[in-house]
């Protein structure tokens, strides 16, 4: 309607004026933020130092096993079983990794096949879930329509039902749908995980309504609003979701869903290789490290991107 009332020239003028106002407002905010950084409430050097010490202690406590896993993979077999156990190896060797790669070379199906399988499952599962869950979370968080309340309740409740008992019904459903023995048996259920929907909804609730109304007045339809306004604002949320999904799907071994050997994921293949008893303890440590590399890389990239958003937008 507003399009008809305004003639093009007026519209142009109003728009440019709005733009100028916006720029002024943003600059103003940026200045304020800079000022804020100087205002730091009741801080003392001793307080900061003791905080750092507490953080470091707990950090060591929680990082210890990860460090131990990594250093263990660099120990020779004799040093892994030494008493008392050492955190850092005396002689660093890459034998475990060399052994692992030799073993990998001997498998019937090339290891790259397993790697591609895991990559397919992880990428399709993660991208699909983040997209579908965010799209679904937006109306549930910001609009009212019949059935919304019921669905919101269902989301929270379904998180609370133990997955141990739903495993068997889920298996039955997957087999009814004819998905058994295909990677889709893992990918499609992953699209429907409750976690992402709940996470995205909780973040979208905090978006101010004014922004959405402004987009509507500018003539954006709901899908455009979702992609242009909502998704950039909740970037920290979906970056976090990617970390969580990636980590969960990367380690999946296919279990009872996939039988065909060349459809199986990497973690299955590697666990088969190291299932050779005590003599393979070192190789097992190398496998753990290799399986960890990818999720940790994704984690680091996403975390640093999250900080980027904050530094650049300034407003949020």
């Amino acid at each position: 309607m507003s399009k008809k009332i305004l003639n093009p020239v007026d519209k142009q003028q109003i728009l440019s004026q709005m733009e100028a106002n916006e720029i002024k407002w943003i600059r103003n905010k940026k200045r304020k933020i800079k000022k804020y950084r100087k205002v730091r409430l009741s801080r003392s050097l001793s307080g900061d130092i003791s905080l750092m010490i507490v953080l470091l202690l707990f950090g060591l406590f929680s990082a210890y096993p990860l460090i131990f896993t990594i250093t263990n993979s660099l120990k020779g077999l004799d040093e892994i079983f030494v008493f008392p156990p050492r955190l850092f190896p005396r002689n660093i060797t890459f034998d475990n990794f060399v052994d692992l790669f030799n073993l990998i070379g001997n498998t019937q199906i090339p290891i790259s096949r397993y790697f591609v399988n895991t990559l397919t499952i992880t990428l399709l599962g993660t991208v699909g879930h983040v997209f579908l869950a965010s799209l679904c979370a937006y109306p549930l968080a910001k609009h009212s329509f019949p059935g919304r309340h019921l669905i919101n309740q269902l989301i929270v409740y379904s998180l609370m039902f133990s997955t141990v008992v739903t495993q068997i019904p889920t298996y039955m459903i997957v087999s009814w749908l004819g998905l058994i023995d295909s990677q889709m048996a893992i990918i499609i259920p992953a699209w429907g995980f409750t976690l992402g929907l709940f996470l995205m909804r909780q973040f979208m609730v905090t978006i101010p309504d004014e922004l959405l109304e402004a987009a509507k007045i500018d003539g954006a339809n709901e899908y455009q609003t979702f992609f242009i306004i909502v998704m950039p604002l909740v970037k920290p949320a979906w970056l976090t979701l990617i970390i969580l999904l990636f980590q969960q799907l990367w380690g999946i071994d296919g279990g009872s869903y996939i039988f065909t050997e060349n459809l199986k994921p990497l973690s299955y293949a590697l666990s088969q290789i190291v299932a050779g008893g005590v003599a393979r303890t070192g190789t097992a440590a190398a496998v753990t490290v290799i399986m960890l590399i990818v999720p940790i890389t994704v984690f680091i990239i996403n975390q640093s991107k999250m900080l980027d958003t904050m530094a650049h937008s300034g407003l949020k």
Binding site: S162, V165, G192, Y223
Partner: protein, 313 residues
């Protein structure tokens, strides 16, 4: 023109359900793809298990309806379940609130660090959740012979002479579970808090400083926490499901079943009857256990929701 629209809206203040659905069909189109998959793979299995809880079902014969007997048996005839219930409540009451607070406090402290240090600290604190084989390490630490890390250190320091059977002594069971669970607990909710702190409007802090907020505690209580209410809610739900759902830790560390059921929880009891490699597969009974766990989680969720609503007031 505008007035007439408002009047029209007033006339149709309560449109019929059909009209409302038609008006909002774009929203339904947005939620449909996810909701279909969600219903098929999450809601349907939950409903099936719930129905199974009123039946006797061994996976071979068709489920037989037996009314409430599963529930009656659980509370009256199953002593082990009562031990499990007691252990679960103790573990949940300790680890739930403590790990929730830990997750928030660490997220808050880390968020104030300079950006370059921050991602590193987040990685370190989140490390236990990333390393999936973490139990293996705790087994090494608490191992009962002299090769166990804890025993080795204690012997080295001359505190004890003979190794302690950490994992086989009922007295230590809950204590060990609590420590490992707390260590594992900086997971999903910690990351959600970190992300949530990123979306807090920075300018509010400045405004608050002008308005006379004096210290960081006031800033936290009046500005940060109210801004993060929805993330706090998310974290609470995740922590409740984690704290009451303790079980895998116990199986991995203390074995299954643990000595004198000292580390037996509702979830391990459930595994006893419901997992596919269990010797006494009784899906109906397992489903009844899951339903009770569900009710427990629901109850604690309602309590926690009430508490979080009072934040910042």
């Amino acid at each position: 023109m505008k007035d007439s629209i408002i009047q029209k809206q007033k006339l149709h203040n309560k449109p019929s359900l059909k009209k409302q659905i038609k008006k909002n069909k774009i929203y339904y189109s947005m939620i449909a793809p996810f909701m279909i998959i969600f219903s098929v793979f999450t809601i349907l299995p939950v409903l099936m298990s719930f129905l199974l809880s009123f039946s006797s079902f061994d996976m071979l014969q068709f489920p037989k309806f037996i009314g409430l007997s599963n529930y009656i048996n659980l509370f009256l005839n199953d002593d082990v379940f009562l031990i499990a219930l007691k252990n679960t409540l103790i573990l949940a009451l300790v680890t739930g609130p403590v790990s929730y607070l830990m997750a928030f406090v660490f997220a808050w402290l880390i968020n104030e660090l300079p950006p370059k240090v921050r991602w590193f600290m987040v990685l370190i604190f989140y490390a236990p959740s990333i390393s999936g084989s973490a139990y293996l390490l705790w087994l090494l630490i608490f191992s009962s012979d002299m090769y166990g890390i804890l025993n080795a250190y204690l012997i080295d320091l001359n505190i004890i002479n003979t190794p302690i059977l950490w994992l086989e002594t009922p007295r230590y069971a809950l204590f060990i579970l609590i420590i490992v669970q707390l260590w594992l607990s900086l997971g999903v909710s910690f990351l959600a808090f970190i992300a949530g702190l990123q979306t807090v409007d920075r300018t509010l802090y400045e405004a608050a400083a002008v308005d006379g907020i004096r210290n960081r505690w006031q800033e936290l209580w009046y500005i940060t926490l109210p801004q993060m209410k929805s993330q706090l809610m998310f974290g609470a739900v995740m922590q409740i499901t984690n704290a009451l759902g303790i079980g895998m830790v116990s199986v991995a560390l203390l074995g299954f079943p643990s000595v004198e059921y000292s580390g037996h929880t509702i979830v391990t009891h459930l595994l006893d009857f419901g997992s596919t490699n269990s010797t006494r597969l009784e899906m109906g009974y397992a489903s009844a256990i899951a339903t009770i766990l569900f009710v427990l989680m629901l109850g604690s969720n309602l309590v926690v929701q009430k508490i979080i609503k009072r934040v910042g007031t």
